[in-house]
Amino acid sequence: MDTRRGALAVPKVRRVGFFTSIEPPPESSQRPNRSQSGPVEATTSSSPLSNSPSGNLISPVLIPPSRHHSDNLTTRVAAAAPVPVPGPAAFRRYLAQDRSLLHVGSYNPPDSLLGTSTPSSNGEFSEDSASLFGFQRSDSTKLSASFPNGGFDLTLAVRAPQESETKIATASASEGKKKIAKVSGKSESVTTKPQKEKEQKALKDKTTKAERRAIQEAQRAAKAAAKGEGSRRADESGRANPGKATKKPQPKKERLPVTSSVSEKTAVAVEKEKRMDVPQTLMQYDDRSRVDKAKRRAVVEQTESKNKVELFLHLPQYERGNQLPNLSSNFFTLDSIHHAVYKVGLQHLAGDISGDNARCIAMLQAFQEAIEDYITPPMKDLTMDLTTKINGYVSFLIECRPLSMSMGNAIRFLKNQIRKLPVNLSESEAKISLCSDIGRFIDEKIILADKAIVQHAVTKIRDGEVLLTYGFSCVVEMILLYAHEIGKKFRVVIVDSRPNLEGQKLLRRLVTRGLDCTYTHINAISYIMREATRVFLGASSIFSNGTLYARVGTACIAMVANAFSVPVIVCCEAYKFHERVLLDSICSNELGDPDAVANIPSFRTNAKHSKTINNNKNLQFLNLMYDSTPSEYISMIVSDYGMIPPTSIPVIVREYRREHLLL
């Protein structure tokens, strides 16, 4: 464990963002990914320094290769025989001692195993997910990553005519180059007999699948053409069919050097496979190549909106409305995503769950369920495999809707817990412990924290006050209701804003409980602010420079309150604090559905946009979801740690993180 930490020190510092699992394999496998965009990094990744730890760390993954119960199980056992393969728990102990041994002694057999087992799994997969283009793609990249390891030179001639192969080749086109860079200069290894056999076997059972796949491709191409929308995708899938002839030269060229260095290659491949699942929150959507790659992996089929706002090209801008039916129709066909997670993803996508706390709790509960149903595949390590699984879930959720900062924190907590599972725990014990950890997180960090916040904040409400709040924050609602319950006399001003009009929900809840409310839109804030004596705001996250990241409009409220010398009290659970820093609302944000802005209530018919206007290239609608409030507008933050000024956030974050690790 310690050595792992050491290996990771550098990348950890570099990736401050939230999903960084502190776990080494994804971390080190991060590198090849980056190297793709820039040649500079490619050299660093192939440098001995980075190579040795990655090799070390990866070798354990290679040994228990079969996540997929494939037909070649027996051969695998035979092949893996020389490698000491203990149970998952004992396995980790082995790592330190046997690393060198594994590295040297168990090169080829596991390699070849991987090579065969993954394709077969891919075949299984493509059967199921008929219309899910993105997913197949994701698998095919995985496949390609693991495929070309074992003696391509030998099988090349045989395989070339086969469809599946070409497809793989196209998918791996971008990746191949980097692999070459990595691999070059490594010792060549001779392909062994079992390898060859396995290749052929794999090919055999692939032919049928390949046929199926060809049919799917054709259907998809037809569909795409009919839609006439994704021009890029359409021609991509179109190419896949005739790809047999046209695409061959390119992969061949790339594959030639691959013949050397089998083992290193597999290591890289597996790394890649793992890395694919590491969610990249800070993905910049103006980076074409990465977006395309991400798209190929994506489960959720997204159409990029045609009329993007230029300032926000780095954020995902998708057309709304078409993903949901697509996804829900695939509910029973996606076996890689646990159904509970899938459900939460759909709810996020549809907006059925909104609000940071609700989303976070839903996600954690889904993970809880998924962990309960989780069975460590034979020959795999629970820590590694579960983390991979969670990563996959997380990236699925991100595709549904970008995660909030607090969810990132929760995921990090979960991964931490997984990593720190005592090695001697059995699988069921580990699962129980994880589930209870998650439950504890929900209870302590969210539910009890809210109660603590309510207790603190109520002391700031006096009789006769006028409390102004913005939008809908469940903590603020709890505070107001509790203060009303304990008999405080006050009035509430609810400021709302388009397009979500969440304030109406709060208004309804407060009025039914008998509170006196004033309702207005955010434009009237300077009119209404003179009446207010306190402003209570909810938060999505608070960054360590004191910046408040919350529902868009919060900054306006805080600013006007500041101008009118009204104290601004922010209510935020400590688990939402984040060690990132943020200066503006542009760099990191989420874009909502632009149509929500374009659609205005019917009584204003003269202001309505006709369809032709809507499609005008010059007219865009921007639906920002969050904004950042500078810390000087915030008088006080009420958290479960008490009432603190915004300058104390970094301190809390540091302390909290320490506690987080101890938890």
Binding site: L507, C517, Y519, Y527, C556, V597, N623
Partner: protein, 409 residues
């Protein structure tokens, strides 16, 4: 003049029911109405200026009372009054010049009369009189203190009793001339109001540079013309328009801008603060400009102005001269505001299920103001049809347009 009276009543009703919106439209209607009032006003032989002023004032009071927050009405009425006074003054001075030459013998008489009527006539009074007529106080008038200058207040502000006595003979020729001149002046005013867009738009090129990002709020024709003028001069820039819920004026403006080929992005009102850091300039059209340089604009403007100040973004206000209001605001957010129907925010009956109107139940108030007040310290620049001005200069500009006598109607 029953027909004039009926048009006045009709217009008053329109104002009351808020059928006419927008300061420019209102100003135009008002000035046209006043013109017809003036032209139909039967002018007495003597003291015709006073008669015209009284007639215009009477109508003006009705109009202002009909929609007190539409300050353009009052502005235009004052402008017309000012025109009448000016024309009267110029005619009188011309006549006085003639009198001085012709009736030199009468001079003593006039002097005596003045000595009796205005015993405390002094340089200060002369200066004040000069200011009241809004002639720039020239060195000559200040120094001379002669009967000639003294006649100025004498004739213009306090009726013309002695004048009518002494000069009734000459009046007949002037009678028609005054009314004619006034109508001429009012026509000029109409022209000015109609053309203020072009005047302002001409200056656009000086203020908008290439690749500028402009934020605007509300729907103002002046702003539209201003941006289009820059666009016609081949400047390429992009415009963020805040949608202006609940009236969605921003959508209207965006539609027009797009129709003219400008790069337009509609943002929600709540995103103003988020976007302002990437905006080079905020341009808004004013509803009214107060004498202290404060601005009354569409609701939400103060928020944008505060955000602009925070990010040091220039906050530019476009205002035609008919929007200059000679009043100093006191609590303008409340006193010069108008609360519109709650149904724009909440549908009627939407929340009736949670209100049982019994004791101890909650209540809902809905606040839906129309205007917002921006204090002068948040405004960087005013662009009027006479050029760009600082907020602190506004009072002087207003003094050019209005007569001090009319400030309180």
């Amino acid at each position: 003049m029953p027909d004039v009276q009926s048009t006045v009543v009709e217009f008053v009703n329109k104002l009351r029911k808020r059928k006419i919106e927008g300061s420019q439209a209102t100003a135009k209607c008002t000035v046209e109405l006043l013109r017809s009032v003036i032209s139909h006003q039967r002018v007495p032989h003597a003291n015709q200026a006073a008669a015209l002023i009284d007639a215009v004032k009477a109508v003006g009071e009705q109009l202002v009372a009909a929609n007190p927050v539409e300050l353009a009405v009052g502005n235009v009425v004052r402008r017309v009054l000012h025109i009448i006074r000016e024309e009267d003054l110029s005619l009188t001075t011309a006549a006085m010049g003639g009198l001085d030459l012709l009736d030199a013998s009468d001079d003593d008489d006039v002097d005596n009369c003045k000595g009796i009527g205005y015993p405390a006539m002094s340089a200060a009074v002369v200066a004040a009189a000069a200011r009241s007529t809004l002639r720039p106080p020239s060195l000559q008038t200040l120094l001379e203190g002669t009967p000639e200058s003294a006649t100025v207040p004498y004739t213009s502000s306090s009726g013309a009793d002695s004048e009518s006595k002494s000069k009734s003979a000459d009046k007949s020729s002037l009678t028609r001339k005054l009314k004619h001149d006034v109508i001429e002046g009012v026509n000029q005013l109409i022209h000015e109001i109609a053309g203020c867009h072009e005047q302002i738009a001409e200056q656009a090129i000086e203020h908008i540079h290439q690749n500028e990002v402009i934020l605007t709020l509300g729907s103002s024709r002046t702003v539209l013309e201003f941006m289009c003028a820059a666009k016609e001069k081949k400047r390429s820039f992009r415009v963020f328009v805040a949608e202006g819920a609940p009236r969605y004026q921003g959508h209207l403006l965006a539609k027009e801008l797009v129709a003219r080929g400008l790069q337009t992005t509609v943002i929600t009102d709540s995103a103003v603060f988020a976007m302002i850091s990437r905006v080079n300039m905020v341009i808004i059209g004013a509803h009214a400009v107060m004498a202290n340089g404060g601005v009354i604009g569409p609701v939400g403007v103060n928020m944008a102005a505060l955000a602009a100040q925070k990010h040091a973004v220039p906050f530019v206000v476009l205002a035609g001269s008919h929007k200059l209001c000679p009043l100093y605001p006191h609590n303008p957010e409340v006193l010069l505001n108008e609360l519109r129907s709650p149904s724009e925010l909440l549908d009627f009956g939407e929340f009736s299920d949670c209100l049982d109107f019994g004791a101890g139940s909650g209540s809902i108030q809905v606040v839906n103001p129309t205007f917002d007040y921006v204090p002068p310290n948040l405004v960087s620049l005013f662009i009027t049809d006479t050029g760009g001005h600082n907020p602190s200069y506004m009072y002087r500009l207003i003094a050019d347009y209005y007569s001090a006598d009319d400030l309180v109607m």
